[in-house]
């Protein structure tokens, strides 16, 4: 009890630190752009868990039910509950300070090169200084509004021009039983704001589009072939065209574009709307606002399991020891907390979302959605990182691959957890890869999902 009071008192003190603007805030980006490193920009207390907890938890140590109270204020609400009550453990890594380790090398470069050139046009779409679509990198690295935060995220999800993620998904019931397991491919390709792939920055034939995106279920047999293709207009007031291939029908079916709050497969807690914490067009959500800034514990590096030939992660926790991936976290010295509400969806089950953005690279590090009664509905946390571990590396060209490595999605209502991990490959020859123009024909057309569907 005493410990809780102390922790709360310390948290309130620290909150005041952030709310009074003493945090790096808007001063971060110029310094980060100049130095390429955050060393010295933040107090030691938010750079190191050792300092934050006065040695009660050390870098390299484990956060578990026995010590989680010391860092309750640094964890997303669901993560805290999972550690306290469900046996989840978090390994603490040193804080990443280097800017180029916080995103794909070319994207980070483009962000630096193009800073200051972005603006919103009359329709509140992000454009370059010449009024044409954005040219690559984050348009608002020094974001001061929630709209800028979400605009940058919506413009580029995975921060590569084209990506194929081979994904394994396990859905865990409250009982700890893995009752639904899937393998699927997530593909996304940007025809604009391209940093690597030619032609760049625009694929002229599709300059009116923001992205092509597909999800293709490859296993188990009962769901294999279930596929969806989203074709996003650049105009962020318009919904993507949505086509689905349902194996039962053996044909491509067009879907209304606003049905984005549906689980794609049985047992999963994931909606299209949840993707990257910005799964819908920017202006189909509104009331964007920043509600706070705080230090966080989140997965920023070290999530790549190079020791497994397929990059699969160990699991632990929950009633059967299979509920959570072996997780790593590190101090994020400054997270920007922003909220938004769906405004273009009749009877959406979500009333708002709260997203924690890492102030350094403006990637989402946690998200909580709320139901229509305002109660927490689903929580997401995961881990990014460079795909290098000692002398083992996975390159996306000249540089180590940077991407997400795993994600947990927790449903507060049902207690179900969906955990997904990016793996080297899944059956059928689907391999994680980026910046390959063939991804378009292979995964992102209606012909592609028909071909990948059940023959």
């Amino acid at each position: 009890m005493l410990m809780r009071k102390l922790t709360r008192r310390r948290f309130l003190k620290r909150s005041a630190y952030w709310l009074t603007g003493a945090a790096a805030g808007s001063a971060l980006w110029p310094a980060l752009a100049e130095r390429g490193d955050i060393a010295g920009l933040y107090p030691d207390e938010v750079m190191s868990i050792d300092d934050y907890t006065h040695g009660r938890i050390a870098t390299g140590g484990i956060i578990d039910a026995g010590n989680v109270e010391h860092v309750k204020a640094l964890l997303a609400p669901a993560t805290y509950i999972q550690v306290r009550d469900m046996g989840r453990r978090l390994t603490v890594r040193p804080t990443t300070t280097e800017y180029m380790a916080l995103g794909p090398w070319e994207y980070q470069q483009a962000t630096l090169s193009h800073q200051g050139q972005a603006r919103f046009d009359a329709r509140q779409n992000v454009v370059a200084s010449d009024g044409r679509p954005w040219i690559g990198g984050h348009p608002f690295p020094n974001a001061t509004t929630a709209l800028e935060l979400f605009a940058g995220l919506t413009l580029s999800w995975g921060r590569h021009d084209a990506s194929v993620f081979a994904v394994k998904e396990h859905n865990v019931a409250r009982s700890g039983e893995v009752d639904y397991a899937y393998e699927w491919v997530w593909a996304e390709l940007a025809p604009v704001a391209r940093c690597v792939m030619e032609p760049r920055p625009y694929w002229q034939a599709h300059i009116d589009k923001l992205r092509f995106n597909a999800v293709i279920i490859t296993a188990p047999a009962t769901e294999a072939g279930t596929s969806y293709v989203n074709i996003w207009p650049y105009d962020q007031h318009r919904f993507p065209e949505l086509y689905g291939y349902i194996p039962d029908f053996r044909r491509v079916r067009q879907y209304p574009t606003n049905q984005r709050f549906e689980p794609l497969v049985p047992g999963s807690t994931l909606y299209l709307s949840d993707a990257w914490a910005a799964g819908d067009p920017l202006h189909t959500w509104g009331n964007y606002r920043i509600v706070g800034r705080q230090p966080m514990l989140a997965g920023i590096s070290g999530g790549w399991n190079a020791s497994h030939p397929n990059w699969e992660h160990g699991v632990h926790g929950g009633p059967k020891g299979e509920t959570f991936f072996d997780s790593v976290v590190e101090m994020v010295p400054e997270a920007i907390v922003a909220e938004a509400e769906p405004i273009a969806f009749e009877r959406a089950p979500v009333s708002k979302k709260r997203v924690w953005f890492d102030a350094r690279n403006l990637m989402p590090i946690a998200m909580v959605t709320y139901d229509r009664q305002g109660k927490p509905f689903k929580s997401f946390d995961g881990c990014y990182g460079l795909y290098e571990d000692g002398d083992q590396r996975f390159l996306d060209g000249q540089h180590p691959y940077w991407s997400w490595t795993y994600v947990h999605a927790f449903d507060f209502h049902s207690g179900r957890i969906t955990r997904m991990e990016q793996v080297r490959g899944i059956d059928g020859g689907h391999r994680t890869r980026v910046h390959d123009p063939a991804i378009y024909e292979e995964y992102l057309t209606r012909g592609a999902i028909m071909r990948l569907g059940r023959v």
Binding site: E177, A205, R250, R251, P266, G447
Partner: protein, 670 residues
Amino acid sequence: MTKTIFSRASRAVVFTLAVVGVLPTAQAMYSLERIWNDATFSTFVRLDAAASTTSKENPNNQGTNRFQDIAVDRQTFVPPTLAGLPVNDNNNWALPLPLFSDTLRRGDLVPSTNDNWNYLALRGESEMQLRFSRSLRFVGRVRGIYDPTVYDEFDARSLDGLQGTGIIGGDPALYHGPPNYFEARGRNGRSLNPLELAGRDYMIDAPALLMEYRSGGLTLRGGNQQIAWGQAIFFQTLDLPNGLDFRRHLILDRAFEEFSDKRVPKLSVRATYQKGTFVADSYVGKFQPTVLSNPNTPFNIIPSQFTVYENYFSGDYDSKIDGGLRIKSDYGSWGWQAVYVSRYNPLGTFSWARSGVNSPLTGGLGSTANLAYAVKLPICDGTESPTLCRNSADPGEALSKTPFVPEPGGVYTGREWFEYAADARLNGLEGFNQAVREFPDLKDVYVTEANSVEELKNQLDTLMVAAGGSYRGYIERDYHRENVFGLGASYVTESSIDALNAIIFNLEVQYTPKRKFINPTLSSTPLQSDEWIASLVMEKWTRWTAAFPAAYLVGQYQFRSESDLVGRHLSGYGGSQDKVADGIDNAHYVVLAALQPFPGRKYVFEFATLYDVKGGILVQPLLQWNIGSGFGAEVFYNYVNGNLYGDRTDNVISSINWADEVAIRLRYAF
């Protein structure tokens, strides 16, 4: 012209297969290790069961014939041509024969059956995919079905000795023993589907066995495959490439699967090309017909008083080539498509066939007829002077040159004849007359064309008594080429009013000039007319509450100018035991369906109904349970009512009026 096109098409098939085989050499092939590591294997097993919820039984089968328990008086009459009477309205089959009449209850001769099961089968499917390069892969899927045959079965051997011979005509595997649930055989005994192995209680086939090559927007597939161009539940307006397989639970499986499990795979090459929103999809393949259920199986739709000769091989249809092209594109909210297919209509047509089966007339009247026939002058054209001349050694031989064979398990009375003609959407009166016209040896055995239902009933009762029981009718199935043209348009609404927003309209129109239909007279000359089929489909996903995922709602309407939903010509509609079919002008069908997933999609409730505006309805509520860990289940109920109002034979649903059932499917995938 058509022959030339398809001669070229067949060369194209060979060429494309060669290309699919050769192109990989230009690709970076994967190592054997990678091919093996990337190979996918998946299997599911499923138990399908359907139990009848009604005392009604399939009347097309021997043991459940409508007349099994009905005693019918058979009054015999003097054949006018036997007595040398002038054939006119006053004399035709109007003089009773006092000594040879009887009262017959069909069930006294043909054992009745009583089934509670409509369907019970264990099914497994295994699929393997091998990827040889980024562009080339192999897909093989094998399907196996075993039916434990727990049904109360009719066995044709139970009729052995009746009418002297029992049933001796037709394919022994289909007509001489217990029901054969799976073999689809030509009259030479060969399987209609080249990649299918089947027996009485099992079938193994390969719905997919193909190589796929992809380059840019082009995808080529060569091998055994199904091609789905369908866009609707129950309707197949532009779903033209494949015939259907009715052996597995007819069309009474889960409606939302449309026809995905029913399309008959065919050896074909399919090329799909997409550029932007434009998609061209074409195929060339070996013609494969629709597969109909065998006699006396639960979902048999051909009255088992018929013996069918399948001419797929003997008519050389197995060497015919189908082909088609479909182009589609979208422009914002609008889309369009155009289709052209040159194909053999997979349903084909049925017509009277020379049986080639020599079976004697038996019984008192039969012996008298044999004697009367024997005293006629031999080697004389009996068809011209039936009173004095004969064309064959005996009536059995004469009848073997016709479609009518005196065998048990056929039509026993005039009433039965007309009842079943109406059921099958045939013209009982003209059908008989057409047989007499096309097979003159019938006149040799004193048969005459009839002028009225009453007259024909008299004649038929007499013939049946003379046969010593019943006549079986022999028909043959042939196929005809047709050119099908289709156009379609789609539109997605945008509205600030939620109820009107995002409704997907899809209009499809099919036009087939000179389509051939089964002639309701079973003439060897099929009916021919230009057919229009138009369908309007409206789909919408709507979320009723925040708690449940969106529901899928669909409304469909189809207009058909010439045929019913299964392809029977509408001029055969409207008959009854006492009335000749007078036809209906056109057919109208309405489908309403809905799908409502529960939160988490663990359960999905579905509802589908097919309504024939002439008075028939099929309603199918279904609950799907995704149990998890590979298990799943579906429970559904088929409510069938072909007697809502109007004449029973004016709607298509009445053809399966007996099929009310509750069904369950349990599956496990691994």
